[in-house]
């Protein structure tokens, strides 16, 4: 506990379990990151599910560790629970705010693919049509993107594919309606 209190910009709440929970959240996130890097979980075609599964399993280990500390210290009250919830928030956001979007950006972003294709061209410049053709021959063309996004829609259970006929699911309807209401509130239009 003395080590934690000497760390700069580290919380020093009166409840020791709260301090431990927040510190361990960062430690377990680093463990998760190392597991993703060395386990190459983001290299699979469906990179999200194995990465999220790994994140969940390490998250369970984290909860068990914090609970063990709480039992040893004899502090299993509301304050300890609040510390655990805050720690879980820190652990989850370190992944979903800083790692998860990077995987999506690198794997899925059409804009990044366009940038990559232009950047890889020999010579100083490349015409727009050439970029589109190169992306198509690299399996990142318009029809490839469309097929990939349709597959993504089904993997996320937003729609069902019945022999090439797609129908929206209940979850898909909810996601769509909620999204539309939010856009209306902010007076925004889709790209």
């Amino acid at each position: 506990m003395d080590i934690l209190s000497n760390l700069p910009l580290f919380p020093h709440y009166p409840n020791a379990i709260q301090n431990i929970a927040i510190f361990l959240a960062v430690v377990f996130f680093v463990v998760f990151l190392l597991a993703v890097v060395f386990g190459k979980t983001a290299s699979a075609e469906d990179a999200y599910r194995p990465t999220n599964r790994l994140h969940f399993r390490i998250g369970v280990l984290y909860c068990a560790t914090v609970a063990a500390f709480a039992i040893i210290k004899g502090d299993m009250g509301q304050q300890a629970a609040l510390g655990l919830l805050t720690g879980l928030y820190v652990y989850a956001t370190l992944h979903y705010v800083f790692v998860f979007p990077l995987i999506g950006l690198v794997r899925k972003s059409i804009s990044v693919e366009i940038l990559n294709t232009i950047g890889s061209a020999s010579g100083c410049c490349i015409h727009r049509d050439t970029v589109v053709n190169k992306m198509a021959s690299a399996g990142a063309g318009v029809s490839d993107v469309r097929k990939n996004r349709l597959l993504q829609m089904c993997l996320l259970q937003l729609a069902k594919n019945n022999n090439g006929q797609f129908s929206i699911s209940t979850r898909g309807k909810f996601v769509h309606v909620t999204g539309e209401r939010v856009l209306q509130l902010f007076k925004l239009k889709r790209l």
Partner: protein
Amino acid sequence: MNLMSTLLASAFFLSAALIVHVATCRLTSDRHFMAKGLSIGCLATLCSFAFFSWHGQADLVGPYVVLTAWLMYLMAFINLLNSVTLKMLASLYQAPQQTLLEASFKDTFNADAGLSERFDMLLNSGLIAQEPNGLYVTTKGQMILLLVRIVRSALAIPR
């Protein structure tokens, strides 16, 4: 301050930022949406840090909660505005009997309604530039590509 007070104060700063963001979006045009969103979020985070420091608590938990909650909120918007998947979902929702064949999604994402818009977005953001001979990646764009290569290499993501 204890943890509960820290979290309540963070929630207050987030609520204030949200009200300012809604008002800004409704009262101004939809241009520079990300710049406005990031500016409001940074301001809220800095204000929360100043507030906690003033209370003798210069730790990162409160500002971290404000910053990450705001970033998640903006990320949800990026997906909502740009996601091809959600645009396809919208087409499916509006279709007769909410059912479509794969070929019918061509209207949702094709070379015009998809790639062209992204080319224009990259030009407007200064990540690529147009010459008489064609397009090239600017220095700003090169930095993005370098970041992408580093992440791809670190996470073993194939091209």
